[in-house]
């Protein structure tokens, strides 16, 4: 059965709303469209007549009017440049977010050049929180999961170094060289498993965040 939301007039209205919503940040645009879909479903019920659909849509108002009420940036049609889009700090193609990901991951790779790595890490985190395309949850994931790469790399290599040091062969008081038992201890296996899990989650998170940064507005 065709619902009210499937009616061509409604589909066309929602399509125009989606196009106008490009003037809003992604989370606001998605929320507005969801609210309007819910409104139309409640207002029109099942199997509405065409006049009642037209009336319902007229009562809602023009899509541009709704987006303006939500604080949407002026559209090109208004004759104003679109420079205020997403508070004016977005480059319009997710470049800020992708730069943040590259910097945070790069800080982990180039950790040995610690002044550079620290700078990359700090700038990456600043870009994460300045992002206009990620919502709060995505920003937190970027900071906590991707931002953890550099500190975790340093910590793991530090632990590995300390472990190698304690397991190194050393001369005993009797002049014999003593070596501890070889093999990875149980806690080492646990850490390796946790690291593998983190790496898988890191890759998944980076892919999701990159997609969110490039998603269509």
């Amino acid at each position: 059965m065709m619902t009210a939301l499937d009616h061509p007039l409604v589909v066309e209205y929602l399509h125009r709303l989606a196009a106008e919503s490009a003037r809003l940040p992604a989370d606001q645009a998605a929320e507005l469209q969801r609210d309007i879909r819910e409104h139309l479903a409640a207002a029109l019920g099942n199997d509405p007549s065409e006049p009642s659909i037209r009336e319902g849509i007229d009562r809602l108002g023009m899509p541009a009017e709704l987006v303006d009420a939500a604080g949407g940036a002026p559209s090109h049609q208004d004759g104003a440049p679109d420079t205020n889009r997403r508070s004016g700090s977005d480059d319009g193609n997710g470049g800020v977010e992708l730069a943040a990901l590259v910097l945070l991951l790069g800080a982990g790779v180039f950790f040995i050049l610690w002044p550079l790595a620290l700078l990359m890490w700090a700038v990456g985190l600043v870009l994460v929180f300045r992002s206009q395309r990620w919502d709060v949850g995505e920003k937190l994931r970027a900071a906590l999961v991707v931002g953890l790469t550099m500190p975790l790399t340093v910590m793991v290599l530090g632990l590995a170094g300390a472990s190698a040091w304690t397991q190194a062969c050393s001369p005993s008081s009797g002049g014999q060289v003593q070596c501890p038992e070889s093999g990875i201890p149980a806690w080492g296996i646990v850490i390796i498993l946790l690291l593998v899990a983190y790496l898988v989650y890191l890759v998944w998170t980076v892919v999701r965040l990159a997609r969110a940064a490039r998603r269509s507005r």
Binding site: L5, E38, H39, A42, A43, R59, G61, L66, A69, G71
Partner: protein
């Protein structure tokens, strides 16, 4: 629709969010229910413009929301008044009473006491 004075539009804008809070003081409601009430009261010209307002009230933590399944369409977002919203509404009610009294006195040509 009859022609409207610009002043009326401004007055509507000024009181609309508090009317939303007032509609929620007794019970929670979903968006369409709120919009219908406000529209019938003549407080909104375009019903869809209420949703950005509701979104702002939610971000300001004056209302809280929860989702419920609906038998006739997508899930519905229900709005309820938070303690902060209740406090803002109480402040507005006091101010409104004084404001209305002052305007009435001037419009009726009486002296303010």
């Amino acid at each position: 629709m009859a022609a409207q004075y610009p002043a009326l539009t401004q007055l509507r804008k000024g009181v609309l969010e508090h009317c939303v809070l007032a509609l929620l003081q007794e019970e929670e409601r979903y968006g369409y229910d709120l919009v219908t009430q406000l529209s019938e009261a003549g407080l909104v010209a375009s019903e869809g413009t209420i949703y950005p307002l509701l979104s702002r009230l939610r971000k300001e933590e004056l209302v809280a929301t929860s989702w419920r399944e609906s038998t006739s369409g997508p899930p519905r977002r229900y709005y309820s008044l938070t303690d902060q919203g209740r406090s803002v509404l109480a402040d507005f009610n006091r101010s409104w009473t004084d404001f209305k009294h002052s305007v009435d006195l001037i419009l009726l040509g009486k002296e303010l006491r």
